[in-house]
Amino acid sequence: MYKWFAVKRILKGVVIYAITIFLLSALFNTVSEATQRSQIEEQIRLEQTRLKNLLPAQIQAFQVERRANLIRQFKLDRPIVERIIFRTASILTFNFGKSMTITSSKGERDVSKIISETIPRSLILFVVAAAIEIAFGIFLGLKQAQKPGGKLDRTTSVVTMVVYGMPVWWLAMIIIMFFVYTLKLFPSGGIHSVPMPTGIMYFVDMLWHIILPLFTLLVLGFWGTAFVTRNIVLGILQEDYIMAARARGIPERRVLFGHTLRTAAPPLMTMAILGLLGSIGGAIVFEGIFSWPGLGNLYWIAVQQNDIPVLLADLAVTIGLYQVGLISLDLLYGFLDPRIKVGGKS
């Protein structure tokens, strides 16, 4: 049963992703075609310089023929719907083409190479942050729910509301200003020192670079987690079976961590994954401020250098990751909540 549920969910995710990319391809059709045409011209110029001993007329003929060839190759001569579908298909097969100016660390201009080297860097920062955040947030939320209306609960709730609309990148700016430029304790950004140290120092150096961004994410991050945990757990603690468990004399710790947390697992999971997905958006600016060379920082560079292919590919990959997150959320949810596994209309 779960197998079918999983297959259905994944297929649906793929279809939704394809539709999303199609919509975006249609929206950005004009600008990406203009970019492609200018890239074709650039390529012809490049090839032309390699030609020697040709008459001007021959060069002209070469240009015209080559241009027609490339336009046919990229299907720029086809009707608009076909062009958009073609572009959608190439994005879905991770065929992003070449960048305008941005290069990968090895100097390649292949957009998929540029992007694939940034993904792990983003993941390491945000997954570590999310893990710590969730652990700490759930712990705090449980403590809050144990004594609702108590001192801890009230202060924590107020802090949650106070930081509710605080942009994490603004906090990052202030933290950098204070810790980097006033106290001079940490590097201003990046993931490694230059030159890159080797051996054990490689990891120490990375740790030194990751502390500040991690700290910033955590300072604002766990309040929301704690607040949602509190509300979920508070609802469950009022259930009859919790009272029954307590009446049977089961220790409070086991009631809390065994009975309550097990029931709360699916919604807590949702919250955790949605939180991680939510940080994808915030990551764009956050990474830019810390010059953390991940997916988000790539947006900044692409915006500043007006590199449309990288920008669009970055967007496609971000949405793809988001989609993967949503799918795995549903799969995990189905796994944790048996009612969904059996599922169906019965």
């Binding site: 106070v162 990148w169 508070l234 967007l315």
Partner: protein, 470 residues
Amino acid sequence: MNLKDTRRALLEFWNEFRKDTSGLIGLGILALFVLVVIFEPVILPWKDVNRKWRNIDYWIDNSPAAPPAWTNLFAAEKKAVTTQLRAPGKAESDMDGGVGKILTLTFPYRFTADKAPLDLIFRATITGDVPMTFSVQRPDGTGIELVSHFEPGLANQGIRVTLNNEANATTFAFVKDYVSEADLSSLNSGSLEPVTLIFAKGEPTMASKPMALKGDYKLIVKAMLIDPATAVIADPHFVVSGAVSGVLGTDDMKRDIFSGLVAGIKWALLIGLMTSAISVFVGVLYGITSAYYGGVVDSAMQFIYQIVNSMPLLPVLIVVSAIFKPSIWFIVLVMVLFFWTGSVMTVRSMALQIKEETYVEAARALGAKNSRIIFRHMMPILIPYSFASMALSVPSAIVYESTVSLLGLGDATIVTWGQILHDAMAGGAVLNGVWWWIIPPGLSIAITGMTFAFLGFAMDKILHPKLQTR
């Protein structure tokens, strides 16, 4: 729902609401914001900030990156505060052997700081031929003839005389009498700073180590009205361009940050409220329609909902802004296109229940059209429930706009907090520790967010009583 019912419902709501301290605080801050927006023309120190934020000429008399004036309270060495000297003493006398007159304008200035202003700037709007001389009377009894200035044939045109640029030679001559031989050799009229010396004690070391001469100064402008019948000097005033300035200082382009901040309030509120109000309305309508019609319509609408819901807003918003260079209204539109999903699911599940109520059935039996049932019978019940989510989505709308602006992709015709922060990033405020440029705009965003969070959570507790603590 008639007027009486609405009033009673509101009163009931208020009675619940006022028990919540944080909700009341939120309401109070919101009221304060609204008051500031209404009285903006009175509060703004720089009245034209809305139109001239990016106009360099408008800010030219300020000093760049000056800290707020109140930092003097904590500083060992007090700095002169940026002020304007208006309302001069006027005296008129006849010119020797001519038809013209001499108008003497005396601007008193009490100088109490330890550090001299950066510049003294005279401004006036002049018609006709008016040659002018500038001099200063110092508290120690000495005086300096500073500079003369003449622009012939002006017709209601502004003049601007900056003493720091134009009074070099005369100040040099004045200082020469005091300073020691050693200092004199290193001094030349090109590099000295006249305004610092004007406010320095007359000592041998006044050039190398100027000590402030505190007391009452008189800045005297003598204007020759060659043809007194037509010559006009309108709005003469001095700008004392101090090293500290205003409530929140200035940025490195000399703009007054407090003015920008005040001007940003209305945009933040507008962006936040408009986005959330429209999206909640659309979302409620969408949820009701989906639930009311059911079947294929419901499935199709749920699928569309899932597609929109599976796109992260911020990346899309940034790419759209980078490519289309949109106006603020377009940014709001894009946000609405993503925000409406927020309330759909709750509304849909509630609407599924309401749809089965007897009065809906009765309305249908009476021959009411679908649109009437949706708009008259279902919307009024469900809209109040979405007020909480409306308030709670205001902060995110404001943060999203600021984020887009922070990347330099915002609407360049308005002043928003995010744009101030973008300029701060670009101007190296983080690197140089210009905290008064970074903290206030972000704090404003955070406080606005907090306000709506207070309101939203308070309403949430009342509207969804399940979350109340026992």
